[in-house]
């Protein structure tokens, strides 16, 4: 109770909560704010001629202007919120759960098992996420290649493949698991695989200390099983730093996803795609950044505010839950 009251007594935490609430609202209201094109649904919407490569200023059809190719900035911004929120939450919650479980169980059982698990954690810690993305992407390409698809193209009519003999293949010609795998986001998999380690290490240190405490011995003596001790006693008492890190990670992971999309390594971040799609038009005639402001300003603001919101919440939680490091 007191923790909650002190969390709500800072204006910065209110700002964070308000921003997150705003993003959640936009994410849920996306179909109302910017209806999708029934012909060609998705996070992009073409208003006008696709062949027109000049960005156009705001108009009634595209309230925030268009990118080259007449993609509505507003539409992608609105639908990108939904994508960012689900991506960030999925990755943060996924990594937090995996890391917590690994850290807590290995510390609880201790001994050689703990040594082995921490050795594996350290090995993962040395693996940069970008290498994971590249590897997963390559595996997909190789599997596709071995299934006969030489080159994959995504277009208005969906994805199709060109075989080595030059004929066209549709997804129906591929094994079902390969089609299913392609639906997954390699960047998301790589992020989950390569960011659980800090959680595991944090959990590990806390649980190693906690399991010597009397009430754990008491619980053991009363006949509680390992699972019950880990889930009912150890994890709840060591969860505070995990929550702080997870809150910050929601924003951090989305920013990283947008970065990967921007440099062309996949990730399917609509906000990142907005920025990479308009990167050649950032500077208008005469070196002015104001001429085509709608190209970069909305997406930049969305990303920065998203990162800020979750950082504020993380900092607020940190102050409340770990008061010493204020």
């Amino acid at each position: 109770m007191s923790a909650r009251r002190s969390f709500l007594s800072h204006w910065r935490n209110w700002l964070g909560l308000l921003l997150v609430a705003g993003f959640v609202f936009v994410a849920f209201a996306a179909p109302l704010l910017s209806p999708q094109d029934p012909e060609n649904p998705g996070t992009t919407k073409i208003v006008g001629r696709f062949t027109d490569i000049r960005p156009h200023p705001p108009s009634p059809e595209a309230p925030l202007g268009t990118l080259p190719g007449q993609l509505s900035v507003y539409h992608t911004l609105v639908w990108g919120t939904r994508s960012a929120l689900s991506f960030g939450l999925a990755v943060a919650v996924g990594t937090a759960i995996i890391g917590t479980l690994i850290g807590a169980t290995s510390a609880y059982f201790g001994g050689w098992f703990n040594d082995l698990m921490m050795r594996i954690t350290d090995a993962f810690l040395a693996f940069p996420a970008i290498a994971g993305v590249v590897l997963i992407q390559q595996m997909l390409t190789i599997w596709l290649f071995n299934a006969g698809a030489y080159y994959s193209m995504g277009g208005v009519g969906g994805v199709f493949y060109i075989t080595s003999s030059g004929t066209i293949m549709t997804p129906e010609d591929l094994p079902f698991w390969l089609v299913w795998l392609q639906q997954l986001n390699p960047v998301m998999i790589a992020f989950v695989l390569f960011s659980w380690m800090p959680y595991a290490r944090m959990m590990n240190t806390v649980v190693l200390r906690l399991k010597q405490v009397d009430y754990i011995h008491a619980a053991r003596a009363l006949g509680s099983g390992h699972g019950r001790i880990i889930f009912r006693h150890l994890i709840p008492n060591a969860i505070a730093p995990v929550l702080v890190l997870a809150a910050r990670d929601v924003g951090g992971m989305v920013l990283l996803q947008a970065t990967f999309t921007f440099i062309g390594l996949g990730g399917d971040s609509p906000w990142g795609a907005l920025l990479s799609g308009g990167r050649n038009w950032v500077i208008g005639p005469g070196g002015s950044v104001l001429t085509y402001w709608w190209i970069f300003l909305p997406a930049t603001l969305a990303l920065v505010l998203f990162g800020t919101a979750w950082n504020l919440i993380g900092d607020g939680l940190n102050e409340v839950l770990n008061p010493r490091t204020r």
Partner: protein, 356 residues
């Protein structure tokens, strides 16, 4: 044996051990592909486009035979690891180069960028964290916290875009790539000797300070982009540990003895706060390397990241992807060992007792 040396040796021994785990997992992943794909990991150089389809198939068969690619996993892993250790990392069709040659050729660019970023962000992060902590809730503390907050919320590529728009396109102060075109020709010519691979140093050693200056000018934007995010994180951790440290009894005792506040902070407290602060950098070494690659791609620096970009061409290129992963892990491990060593130099407790 002096404790520091023993610590260093134990630390270095753990590198091959971790590499063994990582490569075993990586090869396990590759086992999920057909033997023909695994054969491409052994392709020698210049098997390129001139081969006919039959010749290529025959070569694949030979490779499968020679490296036991239809045998169980441990056998294959053994042969592959041996090959790797002998420097045969395969041929990359996207780079049109031997993978190891391609990596070694591009290492200096990546190394230079990483080195300068570390040299910028570690001292700055420590100093600003300490100053901020020693004047908690003061003006410099508030402004540091605000700056660090902005820095952590701003994605590096947006900062890079702003920098490029301002200083490259509008003001023409700094350039993209490693050098200007004219100097690039000088660097790749016969007369320019490579000593360290770092252009900023090699320029001086070749008595061409103008080249060093040019290389430095090209480093400003990428180093700034990279350093800013890590400076903020390091500064915040330093601040938090310093505040905790400043409340301890020995600080009060030192104050009571009349030791000046500045001396307490910089001589006594900071040394104790070093370890957690550097540990945070140590844990984010992999993130630093990812950042280096991202910055390389944005600022058009032909570093190791070229192997990653090639993999997005949707051409099967297992050797490049594997080489990229292994080399990146090796780089992170070396980075971690260096930071560990700095820690051990500064904190004798670490080298005398195995705390981990």
């Amino acid at each position: 044996m002096p404790p520091l040396l023993r610590y260093l040796i134990r630390r270095l021994v753990s590198i091959p051990l971790t590499l063994l785990i990582v490569t075993a997992v990586l090869y396990g992943v590759v086992m999920m592909t057909p033997a023909e794909t695994r054969a491409t990991l052994y392709m020698p150089r210049n098997t390129g486009p001139r081969m006919t389809e039959e010749q290529y198939q025959a070569m694949l068969e030979r490779m499968i035979e020679k490296y036991h690619l239809n045998d169980p996993y441990p056998v294959q892993y053994y042969y592959w690891l041996g090959n790797l250790l002998q420097g045969n990392w395969g041929y990359s069709p996207t780079l049109q180069q031997d993978v190891l040659t391609g990596i070694l050729q591009r290492t200096p660019a990546t190394y230079e960028l990483t080195l300068y970023s570390i040299l910028v962000f570690i001292p700055l992060g420590l100093v600003s964290g300490v100053i901020s902590a020693s004047r908690q809730h003061g003006l410099s503390d508030r402004s540091f916290r605000l700056a660090a907050f902005v820095a952590t919320s701003l994605p590096p590529f947006i900062l890079a875009m702003i920098l490029i728009a301002t200083f490259y396109i509008n003001l023409h102060w700094f350039g993209l790539g490693r050098t200007s075109t004219a100097f690039g020709q000088v660097v790749s010519s016969e007369g320019f000797k490579t000593y360290t691979g770092l252009l900023t140093l090699d320029g001086l050693l070749n008595k061409r300070p103008d080249i060093s200056l040019d290389a430095l000018r090209h480093l400003v934007m990428p180093v700034f982009t990279l350093a800013i995010a890590h400076w903020a994180t390091l500064g915040r951790v330093t601040r938090a540990t310093m505040i905790e440290e400043l409340q301890k009894d020995y600080v009060i005792a030192a104050r009571a003895h009349g030791i000046p506040g500045k001396k307490i902070i910089w001589r006594h407290t900071l040394r104790n706060a070093f370890t957690p602060a550097l540990t945070s950098s140590l844990l984010s070494a992999a993130a630093l390397l990812t950042g280096v690659y991202v910055v390389e791609i944005i600022f058009n620096i032909n570093g190791i990241s070229a192997l990653a970009v090639g993999s997005m061409a949707f051409v099967p290129d297992a050797p490049a992807a594997m080489g990229f992963a292994i080399y990146s892990v090796l780089a992170v491990l070396v980075l971690m060992a260096v930071l560990d060593l700095i820690q051990a130099l500064l904190d004798p407790r670490l080298r005398e007792e195995n705390l981990r």
